[in-house]
């Protein structure tokens, strides 16, 4: 269980995290979603005590992170896979972490096996690691103490498609066995596939949160036609707000039934009409963060 209450972190005049409140529950994967620079990493660093909060609280299992007697056994943390001494071997980094936690040396071999780093790779110095290998090493460090809570910042970074699939299954397995998993990403697809709950953040503020099902059901309807302008006029005439999508469609909050009737009345032939699932989260994400993201709204 992770509880963040009215958390704010300021750097001078700049507010990196602005009054953020959310809960990540046991047995569920909570996706922490937001564009670059939205405050995801800062929130996670405050959560594990690396960055002091300006105000508000962050607790893991009902305690401040600093009050955990042996944090590695309760919380697995991966913030930046590149933040390791480049001169140590992968095995040595895990051995140092295992000793700090008071774990037997055999645990290092088990975890290397779990993240599929071969003995030869584990014996190499980290400066020669690819980003994917560093990521596996970082995940190994996080899982070493078999913690009940996982806090992972962009864990899929640098992994190949098979690696991403592997990590997804691994985290799903952890959550199914009762662990609290909080993972951040700016990759919508990754989060959409794995997360049960979503917390969406933009410019330091939470813009939406809830279960994935709730957020997606609010995604409305996706409709496509050869005469988009005509359909847009018809929807407006019926009082339905809508937006254009990146791939030539229209999205509206109304349900598909109603959109179909509007099109029929206006005599417009449709090519596609369906609830905006799949791409729905992406549209919601772009929409929710439209005024906060750097590129402006693409569609």
């Amino acid at each position: 269980m992770i509880t963040v209450q009215a958390l704010t972190r300021k750097y001078g005049d700049f507010t990196a995290v602005d009054d953020v409140t959310f809960t990540a529950r046991p047995g569920r994967v909570t996706g922490f979603l937001g564009p670059n620079g939205a405050g995801k990493s800062t929130t996670m660093r405050v959560l594990v005590g690396l960055t002091p909060a300006t105000s508000g609280t962050a607790e893991v299992s009902g305690r401040r992170f600093a009050d955990l007697p042996n944090p590695g056994l309760e919380v697995g943390v991966l913030l930046d896979a590149s933040a390791q001494h480049a001169g140590r071997t992968g095995r040595e980094i895990l051995t140092v972490a295992a000793r700090t936690m008071g774990l037997p040396a055999s645990r290092v071999d088990e975890i290397l096996d779990l993240v599929s780093l071969t003995p030869e790779e584990a014996g190499r110095r980290v400066r020669h690691y690819s980003l994917g290998m560093r990521q596996r090493l970082g995940i190994a460090t996080a899982l070493l103490g078999e913690p009940g809570v996982l806090i992972l910042d962009e864990p899929a970074n640098g992994l190949d498609p098979a690696g991403i699939r592997w990590m997804r299954d691994l985290l799903r397995g952890y959550a199914d066995r009762g662990a609290t998993v909080l993972l951040s990403s700016h990759l919508l697809h990754e989060i959409e596939v794995i997360a049960d709950d979503l917390v969406v953040i933009g410019q330091g503020r939470i813009v939406a949160q809830g279960t994935k099902a709730e957020l997606l059901s609010a995604a409305g309807t996706l409709v496509r036609t050869d005469d988009r302008a005509a359909l847009a006029r018809a929807l407006t005439a019926s009082g339905l707000t809508h937006s254009t999508t990146a791939d030539d469609g229209l999205r509206t909050d109304a349900d598909p039934d109603l959109v179909g009737k509007v099109a029929l009345r206006a005599g417009i032939a449709l090519r596609e009409l369906r609830p905006a699932d799949g791409a729905g989260l992406e549209e919601m994400f772009l929409e929710l963060t439209a005024d906060t993201q750097r590129e402006g709204l693409v569609a």
């Binding site: 660093r45 594990v48 005590g49 960055t51 913030l79 140092v96 700090t100 790779e121």
Partner: protein
Amino acid sequence: MTAMTLTEARPLAREAAPAPIPLSRLVAVEARKSFDTRSGFWLLTSIGITALLATVAVVLWAPDSALTYDTFAAAIGFPMAVILPMVAILSVTSEWSQRSGLTSFTLVPHRGRVVAAKAIVAVSVAVGSMAVAMTIGALGNILGSTIAGVDTVWDDGPMHLSTIVLGNVLGLLMGFTLGVLIRNSPGAIVTYFVLSFVLPTLAGLLATSQEWFRTLQPWVDFNYAQGFLFNGGLTGEQWAQVGVTSLVWLVVPLAIGLRLVLRSEVK
């Protein structure tokens, strides 16, 4: 990275709250971290190597009259005085410069305990390597005087050897303090060299030209007062001067540095 293991057959639930991490374990971990990189390993190995080289050099080139234990101790002491502070600096700064602090301070959120463990390791390394170096020097003294056919002279007593050890420990703590204060490897190393090699020269120049500074110097110049420890036979006033300069140059900056370490953001 061939086979993909998907699940792990262990339960996650933990019955009792884990026991706190004892300081002794942190000291053991920090000791391991001083040796487990190539740079750390060679830095520590170089202490033994330079002690051996210095001893050989004295045996080969020192005049027979100078073949005393004091000569050996001085020859070995110089490289030690340079290397030991580097060991102390890097043990602290690498957590920031190499960013390994992200993991270290997450596994042990009480940063003061990590820094304390590092200090214990650094001082132990200093005392341990001094013991090794003095043994090498003693063997060199016996060997050198035997080869030259002169009497073996043991002119440095245990008291003097102890003050030499203390002098080197203070030098190492100076490096440690700069590491804690600056938290950047090149920055701390350069500052150390400026403080230990450039500043004494300037202070010496000032002392020769300014009468008022000459009397003040032992009370304010850390290196000058540290010299008393290497020369041995300290008077009460000299001990007081060592104490005062250590307070100003070590204790105060270390306290400021620790405060910064505890409150700063680890990125």
